[in-house]
């Protein structure tokens, strides 16, 4: 990979959060933070806001309407068949199918959306910044280009709290 990154590796949560806050005051934001468990301050502090919940809601809405529409079309308009003494439009019995199929649709569609946005696909080579990032270390990743003019102070803060690699 041609891009250059600066890594800050920390041993525990407190030093990570401390460095994160200091850098935030200077306007330096990491592109990614890897932690062994969710760290509240990082979640709140990162400038990334997910819109996937909105996507999921609209997938659900359209899936529900689509499935109900399809069932109505199939059972009422295209091939009306009387069974069990029910009217053609056996609406209550459509609902169970709709709920289950909507859950399936939401799950798959949000999975695909997430994968597309995160550029993840089967067989992709993993981008590993630090080999203990998935272990017990807290790793902050900085894009070197984006913070060229601040890189000295960044390095100073990082060495103060952890170490750079």
């Amino acid at each position: 990979m041609s891009k250059k990154y600066i890594l800050g590796v920390f041993d525990d949560e407190a030093t990570l959060v401390d460095a994160f806050e200091k850098l935030k005051d200077k306007g330096v934001m990491p592109v990614e933070v890897y932690t062994p468990y969710p760290v509240h301050e990082i979640l709140e502090g990162m400038p990334i806001k997910t819109r996937i919940t909105h996507a999921a809601f609209f997938y659900g809405l359209f899936a529900a309407l689509g499935i109900l529409g399809f069932l109505t079309y199939a059972a009422v308009i295209d091939w009306p068949l009387r069974y069990g003494g029910k009217p053609f439009n056996a609406f209550p019995s459509f609902i169970v199918v709709t709920i289950v199929a909507t859950i399936l649709a939401i799950t798959l569609l949000t999975l695909f959306t997430f994968s597309a946005r995160a550029k993840v696909f089967p067989g992709k080579k993993a981008e590993i910044f630090h080999e203990r990032a998935t272990d017990d270390k807290f790793v902050m990743v900085f894009d070197e280009e984006g913070i060229a003019n601040e890189s000295e102070s960044l390095k100073a803060i990082l060495t103060e709290h952890g170490k750079i690699e």
Binding site: H40, F57, G84, G85, K86, P92, S93, I95, V96
Partner: protein, 386 residues
């Protein structure tokens, strides 16, 4: 943190006025239409007992799951549970109105009816009241024990009373699950004694939990507007909303499952209950129940923003207060009053009960420190944030 609630005179006068309205509407109701008044009596009794039971369930669940977030507010469900002794007296007074609401209490009806004869070992007046007494005794004793532990904890501290409360809460929810199921069958399902539905008890219980958790949230919000609970934050509100949201979905599921299976099975003895309610106002109420108790809370409280704001919660809660009434009206009226009458009598009696209930909750809240002391999870509750 000694922070006791003091009731303002205005609040007391208001509750007394509401109780007076209730008493007057009852008195006038007996003069003009005794049958309808007894139906009102049953509806309102059941309404507020379901709130008390739902609150008891809420409090017990907090102990069992060792929830930290709710430790600050546990006096509110405790205060709602304090309504149970009043409800017990009211349900015993129902003896005088038995014949107006319960068809199976008439000997001449039962003697001509094989199904009712078959059910009479269970559905008979002495056993009915024995059940009421046993259920209420169990509920009152267990809730008093839990309340005593909770007050002792304020003085002594430590883990002892928390662990005791947790143990008794476990007993309590088993007792509740069994007794309240039978209670709802007695009070609501036996109004039409030929009909039966296995979903009914679950649905009634869930309705109680749904409306009790929304009332708990409402009381907390009202108290915070008065300057109490200064540490209430959006995360607490979100957790209250989760309870409302969750129980609303479960209620919607039970309600639909009950209807769908009966509709699909199409067996005459099961469908009769719904056929009876498939015309006029009752048909509107059938859909209104689903919209008020499930659809609107589901859609409004789904986004993160609205589930954390009082602005959205209060209208939904007020709607749910109406929702429990319409649901009970839908169950009770076709079986007892037959015609869908709604007037000053209904409003007056409901206001009377609401006044009594608020009076009981208010006076119980003044009896102890509003925020419990020495609760092991109190600090977690104060720091609660997500």
């Amino acid at each position: 943190m000694e922070d006791r609630l003091t009731l303002s005179n205005k609040f007391k006068m208001l509750t007394y006025a509401l109780m007076a309205v209730g008493v007057v509407s009852f008195a006038l109701g007996f003069v003009f239409d005794a049958e309808r008044t007894w139906a009102n009596y049953l509806l309102n009794n059941y309404y507020f007992v379901s709130l008390a039971i739902g609150a008891a369930f809420f409090a017990a669940i907090q102990y069992i799951t060792q929830s930290g977030w709710s430790a600050m507010f546990k006096r509110v469900p405790e205060a709602m549970v304090a309504y149970l002794p009043f409800a017990a007296v009211f349900f015993l007074i129902l003896y005088f109105g038995m014949h107006s609401v319960f068809e199976w209490t008439h000997h001449e009806v039962v003697s001509h009816d094989h199904i009712l004869q078959h059910k009479s070992p269970y559905l008979n007046v002495p056993f009915f009241f024995a059940r009421i007494i046993v259920f209420f005794a169990a509920w009152i004793i267990l809730s008093k024990v839990l309340r005593k532990f909770s007050l002792k904890e304020d003085e002594v501290g430590g883990m002892l009373y928390f662990e005791k409360s947790e143990f008794y809460s476990k007993i309590f929810i088993f007792v509740l699950a069994f007794s309240f199921s039978l209670f709802s069958v007695d009070m609501l399902m036996s109004l039409e004694p030929h009909w039966f539905s296995t979903m009914f008890a679950g649905k009634s219980f869930m309705a109680g939990v749904l409306h009790a958790s929304s009332i708990i949230a409402l009381i907390v919000i009202i108290l915070s507007k008065q300057g109490k609970f200064p540490l209430l934050n959006h995360s607490h509100l979100h957790d209250f909303t989760r309870y409302i949201f969750m129980s609303s979905i479960v209620w919607g599921y039970f309600n639909f499952a009950e209807f769908m299976l009966i509709w699909y099975g199409n067996i005459p003895e099961e469908t009769s209950w719904f056929v009876h309610r498939w015309h006029g106002v009752y048909k509107i109420l059938f859909f209104a129940n689903i919209v008020i108790n499930w659809a609107i809370p589901f859609l409004v409280l789904m986004p993160r923003k609205s589930s954390r704001s009082k602005l959205f919660m209060i209208p939904v809660i007020i709607l749910l207060i109406i929702g429990q009434y319409t649901e009970l009206y839908y169950i009770i009226w076709p079986a007892t009053v037959h015609e869908a009458k709604f007037g000053l009598l209904e409003i007056g009696t409901f206001l009377g009960y609401a006044g009594l209930f608020s009076w009981v909750v208010g006076t119980t809240l003044t009896k102890a420190s509003l925020v419990p002391k020495n609760h092991p999870y109190l600090e977690e509750s104060i720091q609660h944030h997500f």
